[in-house]
């Protein structure tokens, strides 16, 4: 069921939602969260489709905020809210409201969204592109327990990762990290069977791919070794190599779907590592709504590294800023002394980088 409301208000939208539910005969609300998608006219279709797919696993009220500030002074001076309410088959398992914020209202999305949130249920805010610098300080961002950004959609993805690390607040997460879960789980499982210490690592992938950077940061943090990034044609990440005393451990995925795992002393084996669609990524994000501390320490690891090297080289006047791109990435390949003592399981240890970064 599709209901269009022109020049409307949040309370009218609420009434319409209740009526729509009643008229399709399912007054019960089984929705578990509100997902706010902040996007523009050009991108909302894809984002909404992914979210609707994900809502099959997590029935949710999806609020799509489409900002239309207007191009002419006349457009910008007026303020109007148009809404499209979708309930039933076309909207996954929950409800969808498309909100078009015209003119001045575009800057006040908060006032429209707040009354439409499900009572007492978690809120997730997702910027498919054009994420704010400080997601947690953005007005819409403050509504969410979880704030999802996507560095891969930024103009300079590697700089975006650095920015995410700098402005991190508990609840932030980035899809470039989500995309890594299958890689990380295969690598972790591989190391379950390797007692030899890893001495160095290489991550190969597209030069502009933020996931390559994230994976390198994570490996650098966890293994406390220099991690080299090597640009390849892709698709995505193409290989991870780890140097151990027993030989090289290599997970190689040339074609973007089937990878080969080579470990010292063991036969080579295939592992399916297909590249997941946005719907699957969002579904994974919505599975847990508590702060992702593993992400926090990985994304902030880069900041601490570059601060360190910036501090060391300040005298020579070549301070590499947080958005130093590849140059900064090179600087990070130095192992950091103090992480060596961190016991991986100790909660305190994982939290301390947060504090340290905050102090700085």
């Amino acid at each position: 069921m599709n209901i269009d409301l022109t020049d409307t208000t949040s309370s009218q939208i609420n009434t319409t939602l209740v009526q729509a539910r009643r008229s399709i005969g399912s007054p019960a609300v089984g929705m578990v969260l509100t997902l706010v998608i902040v996007t523009d006219e050009g991108n909302h279709y894809d984002a909404l489709r992914a979210a609707s797919d994900a809502s099959k696993e997590h029935p949710s009220r999806i609020l799509v905020v489409v900002r239309r500030p207007g191009r002419s002074p006349r457009d910008r001076a007026m303020a109007r809210l148009d809404a499209e309410v979708r309930v039933g088959i076309d909207s996954g398992t929950g409800e969808t409201v498309l909100l078009r914020l015209h003119g001045e209202l575009a800057a006040h999305a908060y006032s429209v969204v707040l009354p439409l949130l499900l009572p007492d249920a978690p809120v997730v805010v997702w910027w498919p592109e054009d994420a704010p610098e400080h997601p947690s300080e953005d007005l819409l961002g403050t509504l969410g327990q979880r704030r999802i950004t996507d560095a891969a959609a930024a103009e300079d993805p590697i700089a975006a990762i650095a920015l995410r690390g700098e402005t991190y607040a508990p609840g932030d997460t980035d899809l470039s990290w989500t995309r890594l879960t299958p890689w990380r789980s295969v690598l972790a499982a591989a190391l379950d069977q390797q007692s030899a210490k890893v001495r160095g690592a290489v991550v190969e992938g597209e030069g502009y791919n933020p996931s390559v950077e994230m994976l390198a940061l994570w490996l650098g943090l966890r293994l406390n070794v220099p991690v080299e990034r090597k640009a390849t044609e892709g698709p995505g990440i193409t290989a991870v190599r780890m140097e151990t005393a027993n030989g090289e451990l290599c997970l190689d995925r040339a074609d973007g779907s089937l990878a080969e795992l080579a470990m010292p002393g063991q036969p080579d084996r295939h592992v399916a590592l297909h590249r997941r669609g946005t719907a699957e990524l969002i579904a994974e994000e919505l599975r847990r709504l508590d702060p992702d501390e593993a992400y926090a320490s990985a994304v902030q690891y880069g900041i601490r590294q570059s601060k360190k090297s910036a501090g060391a080289s300040r005298s020579s006047g070549s301070g590499s800023g947080p958005s130093g791109g590849r140059a900064r990435a090179q600087a990070e390949t130095q192992p950091e002394g103090d992480t060596a003592k961190q016991s991986p399981a100790a909660k305190k240890a994982a939290k301390s980088p947060t504090k340290r970064a905050a102090k700085k």
């Binding site: 997590h58 029935p59 295969v186 890893v198 966890r222 795992l261 036969p267 399916a272 593993a294 399981a345």
Partner: protein, 508 residues
């Protein structure tokens, strides 16, 4: 595996799933229905979700003249037809490289030698590390042969740092004696903690959710005792007949087939005290404790009922009666419906009856646990106001349409004070349908991980037979099963059994 050993593991990193270590699965009776409809798709779904180790190998053993490729084709077809997750070529490639088939019968020494060399070859070519689980998807009469063959050929012994596990399916015997014999046979070859008994009900999300519902919330547990609960009904109804299982079913009957394992397990989970942890040991301790407190009624004739379906109409289809089914003795006394009243002798449940019932060819396919509460001790409303008000109830719907229903009274809108039952629903179907894994997926993964808390232990199995045996003995000596029309909710006597206690069955 400790977190400390592997630098990439972090307790705080909750995204990383539990992946089984290097291992393989050997299925005996791989041509059977269960294997094709459940096990093979479950293996694929696990691989698709990235939960199987690279190099995972699947070995089929059956009396067929197949090459490895033929076997892979059979698995391919069954995966395409029955798997829950979409078919993906790269996942299939990962799996199919580790598929082997060993033709042979169970007493064939050569076949077991071939199996042994196959396993050794897999250790070399796929890096399975000597870790193998043997899934016995065969009728129980073959258990002793298969298990002793495994022992004879040294397949049950694991090397240093590896494991060999046995997975067995119900029935775990047909009475206490046979169950003990069976356990003795299996334990003679495999260590008790390496034997996994599959009760697929325990792998269901809803069943695991019973524990979450009870012990993660505060609002239910205070009511979960004799002060508030009037009685509990546990129902497992099937709309199908015995189908092609005549050979197995006749002489076993529904009580042995269902009550002994599924229903008593559900009873244990519903009635047990809070375990010290969710480890296998703590769970079995509590389950066993409550099973040990289960007491049969003194007059078995009055509080147990069995029935047999007769020809009738089931959901618009004309169906045969049990005695007319193919392969059934026309004088068979096997029960296709069983109901009984049990009590639990402990402080929490004294005086609260637990009614269990199960049957074939009943109204519809449903499994549920209904906790029915007492009426309010005093009602300020007139009797006429509350005429339509029943007892409050909390129903855990195990299948289908998994979820929880709470029933309570509410005022009917209008000028009169009239109170009627309404229900409040939580439906898994609404939330987690698309992605809630099949029970077999979960259980297979747990076997490979060595995680035993969703598997009944042999003590539980034996204690369950202890509970059921006296009923079966009584039935043997007294009378015949009462006939009921297919497509109804069982024999008249079942209704009378509850009416005697002043209660009635819920229509599930």
């Amino acid at each position: 595996m400790t977190y400390a050993a592997n630098p990439l593991r972090d307790a705080l990193d909750r995204r990383l799933p539990r992946i089984a270590g290097p291992s393989g699965l050997v299925i005996f009776g791989v041509t059977g229905d269960l294997s094709r409809k459940k096990l093979m798709p479950a293996v694929y779904d696990l691989a698709n979700r990235g939960l199987l180790p690279p190099g995972f190998s699947l070995v089929g053993f059956a009396r067929r003249d197949w090459a490895h490729e033929d076997f892979a084709q059979v698995v391919h077809d069954s995966v395409k037809e029955h798997a829950r997750t979409p078919f993906r070529e790269e996942v299939w490639q990962q799996l199919s490289q580790g598929m082997r088939f060993v033709p042979g019968v169970f007493d064939d020494d050569d076949a077991f030698q071939t199996l042994k060399s196959t396993i050794e070859e897999l250790d070399k070519s796929r890096g399975t590390g000597g870790n193998f689980a043997f899934y016995l998807s065969v009728p129980p009469k073959f258990f002793p042969t298969v298990v002793s063959q495994l022992k004879k050929h040294g397949l049950s012994e694991s090397g240093e740092g590896s494991w060999r596990r046995a997975v067995i399916e119900k029935p775990f015997g047909h009475d206490l004696r046979s169950a003990q014999d069976l356990n003795a046979v299996v334990h003679d070859v495999f260590k008790p903690d390496q034997v996994f008994r599959i009760d697929h009900y325990l792998g269901k999300e809803t069943v695991q959710n019973i524990l979450a519902l009870r012990f993660a919330n505060t609002m239910f547990e205070p009511l979960w005792n004799r002060s508030y609960v009037d009685h509990v009904q546990i129902t497992m109804a099937e709309d199908i007949g015995i189908g092609g299982r005549a050979g197995y079913y006749d002489g076993i009957g529904s009580a042995r087939d269902v009550i002994q394992n599924h229903l008593l397990q559900l009873l244990a989970l519903t009635a047990m005290e809070e375990p010290a942890s969710f480890g296998a040991k703590a769970l079995v301790t509590e389950k066993l404790k409550v099973l040990n407190a289960v007491r049969l009624p003194r007059e078995l004739g009055k509080h147990t009922v069995r029935g047999q379906y007769t020809a009738g109409w089931q959901g618009g289809q004309k169906v045969r009666g049990y005695l007319e089914e193919e392969g059934i003795d026309s004088k068979s006394k096997t029960d296709t419906f069983a109901a009984m009243r049990l009590e639990i002798d402990n402080r929490r449940w004294a005086g609260v009856p637990f009614y269990l019932r199960t049957g074939k060819r009943l109204g519809r396919r449903v499994t549920e646990i209904a906790v029915v509460f007492q009426r309010a001790p005093h009602s300020p409303f007139d009797a006429t106001d509350t005429q339509e008000l029943g007892q409050n109830a909390l129903v855990i719907r195990v299948q289908p349409d998994e979820g929880i229903t709470i029933r309570f009274g509410s005022k009917v809108p209008g000028t009169q004070m009239e109170i009627r039952d309404v229900t409040m629903d939580f439906a898994y179907g609404e939330s987690f349908t698309e992605s809630s894994p099949e029970a077999y997926e979960r259980l297979l993964l747990d076997v490979l991980l060595g995680d035993a808390n969703l598997f009944p232990r042999h003590q539980e199995v034996e204690r369950s037979w202890e509970i059921l045996d006296p009923v079966e003995h009584y039935w043997e000596k007294h009378g015949n099963p009462e006939q009921y029309l297919a497509g109804t909710w069982g024999p008249q006597a079942a209704d009378e059994m509850l009416a005697r206690d002043g209660r009635s069955w819920r229509r599930p």
